[in-house]
Symmetry: C2
Subunit: 158 residues, 2 copies
Amino acid sequence: MSEQDEKFMRRAIELAKKGIDHGAGGPFGAVVVKNGEIIAEGWNEVTSKNDPTAHAEVSAIRKACAALKDFQLRGCTIYTSCEPCPMCLGAIYWARPEKMFYACTREDAAGIGFDDQFIYDEIGRDLEERRIETINLLRIEGLGVFKMWESMPQKIEY
Amino acid sequence: MSEQDEKFMRRAIELAKKGIDHGAGGPFGAVVVKNGEIIAEGWNEVTSKNDPTAHAEVSAIRKACAALKDFQLRGCTIYTSCEPCPMCLGAIYWARPEKMFYACTREDAAGIGFDDQFIYDEIGRDLEERRIETINLLRIEGLGVFKMWESMPQKIEY
């Protein structure tokens, strides 16, 4: 941890504040840093953009990848004003940055009405025990496309 | 399960095939249905759009919410050609559809090189044991913005 890290986290927190000041969505901000510079900023815009995926981290990751013209965040660090929800954590793992800093915890988020823990719990459950009814259908037909993918010589893996 | 459900799942599988035929990304497709009609379609575009969040389900959810002008998918059903990864499952829980159908399983996805299970495992781990280094920083400053949010009378909760 360095002064630089604190500076970037303060920017993430500032974006969280800016977001709620402008009615964008919940109180969350994030920045992506590469080589000591901010390459993308995000804040929660769920309610203003009618996009349940427009969390600060997802938005920052999408912008950072667009800036780098890459689908990975190699050598990058993410600073987020709150511990990521499972969706954002999944996005972070797909983007593969090197490191993550967070300020508030998931318990802090629950304390102001954002129940990430419910989703963390559901993800750990067997499919047939989940609150959103989850049904398997046409697996064999689906597998046909997987087999086509496997046999494609020109596929780009990620 | 009905013939209707099979029809919608076949469309999701068809989108998965269309996606790989066009070099959009991995072999995954999804549709969102409301009142017996498809309101949005998505397919994986990670590598073609340089967007690690452009999975079939996330894309379909974003489009469906845009079509409904809502940040929730009340009364909707999602059909996806493969069991969602944690990112997409998180997105589904935030969007709150009524039901989800899936064709291939996460094990099928692992079999063709998409290791969702690694992310499922990481999400269940304590923060300090994760593969992407995860560090707490400036929590008290972050909490300041949470308190501002709490005291806002005009906030839109989700």
